[in-house]
Amino acid sequence: MRSSLPTTVDLVTRCRPLLGTFVEITTPDGHGEAVNAAFDMIAHIHARMSFHEPASDLAAIRNALPGERIAVDQETVEVLRTALALHEATNGLFDIAVGRKLVRRGFLPRGDIGPLRQFDGTAADITIEDDKHVSLKRRMLVDLGGIAKGYAVDRAVEVIARQGVPFGLVNAGGDLRAFGPIEWNIGLRDADDLVRSSITIRHCAMASSANLGNRRRLRGSQHTPHIGRNGQPVLAEQRTTVMAEWCVIADAMTKVAMVDPDLADTILSEFKGHILRETLSLGTA
């Protein structure tokens, strides 16, 4: 049915500093409670999955000895399940036990972690015991920086949608997901920080990664927070953007796509996703 009288909706964007970045939630006006609940969920995920927080689940995991039953949050178990599946699907390329390398290379703080050589496990050494417990075969430093933002976006979208909000967008510093029947125009910030192109999305997730602006020199070689096969640093000259049904997949697969685009596309095809290759130049719309 067509109506000649346009209906009007006010959109509100709120923004909080969470997950080490700016989390924006845009919904129609009048859904403050739902947005508060979504921010609470993201703050909860932030607290459980922070590498830095001494009370986080990641701290509990790094302090645990092999075989010890480690109590963690249900949300953490969910992220670990996805991370383990992707570790297997990528033949070990996507590995959340990357913390040791990131500390060694200066991308994560050393804190009071102790000798790094004791943390030699990989994601394959994690066992999910039940919905609230995990154990390790070997010790490791888990970092969820490559997946937790996407997961938090998905959970925030679920919280908002469950409360009857008809459409909205959650954007955690570039890892984002739109839901509902309206289209959103998303600018793509390239590796050199300039936005040259955009894409219109509806009811899907996307995530981008780049590391041109995040490099460190260590003993004569360049390092980035992205690590490829055999521990080699990934020196990407371009932004990599991935589309998927869920933001957790989009977020994690940007790191795979930077190293092995064909493998990423194969995996993404199971999640209604793909690597973004075609975009619209700004000014030509």
């Binding site: 923004c15 500093p17 080490g20 289209e183 600018g187």
Partner: protein
């Protein structure tokens, strides 16, 4: 607070969307202190206080004028700015009566545009756009995907405001 209209066509969707970009300080007060009355309680930082804040937090206050409100529950509401990578970020900090952080909301934040503000093609899309003016959805670009931005500047700013609370507000309420 910027306002603009987005037009789109989609089944079962409204035909026009007015976007409110972030909250005004008044909206933030209502969200961060629901049901409470807030009265303005502005402060002026002295030289000694500025040095003490700098010493305690490692951050220098940007302004001498401290925009403070006192909530009926005894909590505090502070609006302040921090310098981001390229731009100012306006933030609202809600503290409870003991000075603990209740919540932080960003009220204006142009860093999402990052250094692309230098790009004339980027600037052109905003040229002449004012409150209430219509923007076609599909041409409007607000949401950005790219390498993750760090919110460290905001964290530093909150640390500075907590020092400001301890030095200026806590013993003087």
């Amino acid at each position: 607070m910027k306002r603009y209209t987005l037009l789109f066509s989609a089944l079962a969707a409204p035909s026009a969307v007015h976007a409110t970009v972030f909250m005004s300080p008044e909206q933030a007060q209502a969200v961060m202190f629901p049901g409470e009355v807030l009265r303005p309680d502005p402060r002026q930082l002295s030289d000694d206080q500025v040095s003490a804040i700098r010493k305690a937090s490692g951050e220098s206050p940007l302004h001498r004028d401290l925009k403070v409100w006192r909530a009926s529950s005894g909590g505090w509401f502070i609006v302040d700015e921090v310098v981001g990578k390229h731009e100012f970020i306006t933030l609202a900090l809600a503290l409870d009566a003991t000075g603990a952080v209740k919540s932080v909301e960003i009220l204006d934040y142009r860093e999402a545009y990052g250094s692309q503000v230098r790009d004339p093609r980027w600037r052109a899309q905003f040229a002449g756009k004012r409150a209430g003016q219509s923007l076609q959805l599909g041409h409007e670009v607000k949401n950005i995907s790219g390498a993750t931005l760090s919110s460290k500047h905001v964290t530093d700013g909150v640390r500075r405001l907590l020092a400001t609370y301890a030095i200026v507000l806590a013993h003087n309420s």
